[in-house]
Symmetry: C2
Subunit: 121 residues, 2 copies
DNA sequence: TATATTGTGCATACACGGTATACACAATCT
DNA sequence: AGATTGTGTATACCGTGTATGCACAATATA
């Protein structure tokens, strides 16, 4: 649970937590079958509420990234590398759709965005 | 005031309104010196509260896109085309910085993002 | 000058989401 | 049986977004 959370961020804590863990899973930093720390322990380590951790875990389960067994714990799902890439692309492209609609509303073309992206990235 | 607002959007109404107006100004659809409708009238037309309109107008003023004269109204600032492009790029790149940090956290390279962008845009 | 219009400021209120605490219950492990 | 872990629920607090209403300041107009 080496995760830095910001309470001043525009994003809620459970969202930040979800994004961090899902990124770790999809990048293979958390192995298939790995048992996540108990929600109480995670809550204590991160100095947040159990409910907040739970919410993040629920999001992970909804995305098929972990599976939960009551009384045992929460485990990283068994996913192939290809499947992980697929899920990652789905998540990113979904977000990118929102991001680009903003760019478009200001009249930017694809080339405009790419040019600006090269400066920023 | 031909603006469609969504109350189910993730973004607050005043934010949506701000983005729409600022885009119209920066694209030159609203001419320099143009007088925006009175906040009460705008509120009524859009079926929202005066405060919400006010908040959007304040954001516009903070960005230097309009100037307000108490008792007269709110007017589109006198900006050159170059200045408008500059402001636009500042606004977009600022947002893009946040967007890309999300992409990066999932391990995407610049080429990854560009490739996905071409599909989505 | 008087009235209307417009922007400003403040008080109040409500809804919702995010967060926290605490307790009880279910499932599992030892 | 007792400890651990996940689940569910009730309660509460706070900040933000939103709405309503009223009073005030500045301007325009008759």
């Amino acid at each position: 649970m080496n995760i830095a959370l910001s309470n001043t961020s525009d994003k809620p804590i459970y969202q930040q937590l979800f994004e961090r863990i899902s990124a770790q899973i999809l990048k293979g930093e958390l192995e298939n079958g790995y048992c996540l720390p108990p929600i109480r322990q995670a809550a204590q380590e991160l100095s947040i509420s159990v409910i907040t951790v739970k919410k993040a875990w629920e999001e992970l389960e909804r995305c098929g990234l972990i599976h939960t067994i009551t009384g045992k714990g929460c485990f990283v799902a068994e996913l192939s590398s290809d499947r992980k890439l697929q899920i990652r692309d789905e998540m990113i492209s979904k977000q990118m759709l929102l991001d680009t609609s903003y760019y478009k509303s200001f009249g930017l073309t694809l080339d405009d965005v790419i040019a600006m992206l090269k400066k920023v990235y």
